[in-house]
């Protein structure tokens, strides 16, 4: 068996050596096709993974309500305000609501820190993970304690551990918890700052006066955004509609609202996915069909040129299956190597250039093995007819003198 395989490989090697141009051409076309296929799989897989991450990071059933900045809506009466949080909580049974207000403040080293004034229910909505300590609680808010929860990055940058004191704008805060944020998937898909507390965020009770403000006046009692987790039993769209109608009741006076649902965030991603599927997909398909047909024409020409050799093989005892196998094996080997080189090389390049790539990439066994599988199938499919033709050549006629 082993000896037979070696002999077959030798036969194929000889044939490729005898017709390097033809073999090279179909190899090239197949290799390009495999490259395109690998890129397609890697990018689509990456985008899918990112969609999953976005859903995960936003949280299940979660959406945000934001409002255009006041410059655009001069009617101050129509701003989102803390009482809207209570109003929604009262009217959305089984859900969770939290309001936030954000300030950008210079940190100890003059780099910006984002201060997010909020309450404890934020952590019920956004699926962030506490690494240490606790999040803000009702007591903090009620007592207006100068406590804060820092992100891991801030903790690392300034040594703000649980129990330590952080000085922000000359005001000391006791750190009570360290929070891990997500992977940044949300951040890369939206510019909606309300959705993305930066890596350097400092959470403080919403009831504190804005010590970080130069003027240290009381905060304007407005919110930058609301987070809502819809009740589990309620479809997200229904919950969005409910909140919308609650907030636009005549007695509430809230205008210029945007509702940011996962759907909205994923839209751009879906569009990208479709575009890539279409462009890279048609390139891959084109190259594979091109590669397949050049392979087929290579094999057809080979069969025609090798009639005498086929006759010789038959005279030396090769069966029809042996002859067919020769061509199928040659085709599968050629496509297989093209796949390994194309997909493997592409995978390597993508892995090295991953950071420079504008879209997320998925690089795993599936992405690398699928082209090999497709190649084998392609080789077998496109060699079927030539191999059959070769097997059907009558040895007597193949060996006739011209």
């Amino acid at each position: 068996m082993n000896r037979r395989l070696r002999a077959a490989l030798r036969d194929i090697f000889d044939d490729v050596r005898a017709r390097p141009g033809r073999a090279g051409l179909s190899f090239l076309a197949l290799g390009v096709g495999m490259t395109a296929l690998t890129v397609l799989l890697a990018v689509l897989g990456g985008l899918q993974e990112r969609s999953r991450q976005i859903l995960e990071e936003l949280g299940a059933q979660v959406f945000a309500v934001t409002q255009a900045p006041p410059e655009d809506s001069p009617r101050d009466a129509s701003r989102l305000r803390p009482h809207h949080v209570d109003y929604l909580r009262a009217n959305l049974a089984g859900g969770a609501v939290s309001g936030i207000r954000m300030y950008d403040v210079a940190g100890p080293d003059e780099r910006t820190i984002r201060v997010m004034a909020t309450d404890g229910s934020l952590l019920d909505i956004r699926p962030w993970r506490l690494l240490e300590g606790r999040f803000l609680d009702a007591q903090d808010l009620a007592q207006r304690d100068r406590v804060a929860v820092a992100t891991q990055r801030l903790s690392d940058d300034y040594g703000w551990r649980v129990g330590a004191t952080a000085i922000l704008r000359d005001t000391p805060f006791r750190i009570v918890g360290i929070l891990a944020l997500g992977s940044g998937a949300l951040e890369s898909e939206t510019t909606e700052s309300a959705l993305l507390p930066s890596e350097r965020t400092f959470f403080v009770p919403a009831t504190l006066p804005p010590y970080w403000r130069p003027s240290r006046t009381m905060p304007e009692a407005t919110l930058d955004a609301l987070y809502v987790r819809a009740p589990a039993a309620l479809p997200l769209e229904t919950a969005v509609e409910q909140v919308r109608s609650l907030l636009t009741q005549p007695d509430q006076f809230v205008g210029d609202l945007s509702f940011i649902t996962p759907e909205v965030l994923l839209q751009r991603l879906r569009k990208l996915q479709d575009t890539i599927r279409f462009t890279a997909g048609s390139i891959a398909l084109l190259c594979l069909v091109l590669g397949g047909t050049t392979l087929m024409s290579l094999l057809v020409a080979n069969v025609r040129e090798r009639v005498t050799e086929i006759g010789l093989r038959r005279a030396l005892g090769a069966t029809q299956a042996d002859i067919a196998g020769l061509f199928v094996l040659e085709a599968v080997l050629l496509t297989g190597i093209a796949a390994i080189v194309g997909a493997g090389g592409t995978g390597l390049v993508l892995a090295l250039a991953r950071d420079q790539f504008p879209v997320p990439l998925r690089l795993d066994v599936v992405v690398l093995v699928t082209p090999l599988f497709v190649a084998t199938l392609l080789g077998a499919a496109f060699s079927f007819w030539p191999a059959r033709a070769a097997a059907r050549i009558s040895p007597a006629e193949a060996l006739r003198n011209e």
């Binding site: 038959r314 005279a315 030396l316 069966t319």
Partner: protein
């Protein structure tokens, strides 16, 4: 197996063999009721006009083609009823063939070409190599075993092809105009090789247009009107 007899049975026998080819203008009957026996150890030379059916006959004798009608015995066994795959086994185990157009693998050396005889057999590589070297020695090319065949002369190439045909000792060596593409001198060398194989006891069936070669024959057949006739030599 059949009981071996001292009066050995023919290596090849044909009874009432017809071979017809379909053509647009109806079937052409090339062989018409051929009866023949080839004794082991004989050197049979077949001559005859072009188109008389010599090659057609050889294709049947070497089991590359099946008769339209009639029975063929090969080495004591009826082969005209065998399936395609069974014929392949008989071919690779018992037949040696030499062709006018050499049919060598031009990218390989002489010994690799001879070893190709074992491509579809299960002979271990070492044994195949040893037997191939012996066969090359026998045809007088033992020293050129590693030379690529494309650098050889026509006569040498044909002797490599002969070595390939006999590297596994065949019951019958079939050759269709093996000197047809060779000059006189090369043809002579090739004929001497056949002569040597004949002395080694190999049965040979040989088609030629060259009457000069008849002197090597132990039996001369003329192909005429779809039949083979004996001609005392």
């Amino acid at each position: 197996m059949n009981a071996p007899s001292i009066e050995q049975e023919p290596v090849l026998a044909m009874r009432g063999v017809w071979k017809s080819f379909p053509t647009p203008r109806g079937p052409v009957h090339v062989l018409r009721g051929m009866d023949l026996e080839i004794e082991p150890g004989s050197f049979v030379v077949i001559t005859g006009p072009s188109g008389s059916g010599k090659s057609t006959f050889l294709n049947l004798a070497s089991l590359l083609d099946a008769p339209t009608q009639g029975v063929i015995h090969f080495a004591g066994r009826v082969v005209s009823t065998l399936t395609e795959d069974e014929l392949c086994v008989v071919r690779k185990e018992r037949l040696g063939m030499v062709f006018q157009k050499f049919c060598l693998l031009t990218h390989r050396s002489a010994i690799e070409n001879v070893m190709f005889r074992f491509r579809y057999l299960d002979t271990p590589e070492d044994e195949a190599r040893a037997r191939s070297q012996e066969a090359l020695d026998l045809v007088g090319l033992g020293r050129q075993a590693d030379q690529p065949v494309r650098l050889m002369s026509g006569g040498e190439m044909q002797r490599v092809a002969i070595a390939r045909a006999v590297a596994r000792r065949p019951d019958l060596l079939v050759a269709d105009e093996p000197t047809g593409n060779l000059d006189r001198k090369s043809a002579e060398a090739v004929m001497q090789t056949f002569e040597r194989l004949h002395r080694e006891g190999i049965s040979i069936l040989f088609v030629t247009h060259n009457d000069e070669l008849l002197r090597y024959a132990t039996r001369h057949l003329i192909c005429r009107e779809g039949r083979l006739e004996d001609r005392a030599s």
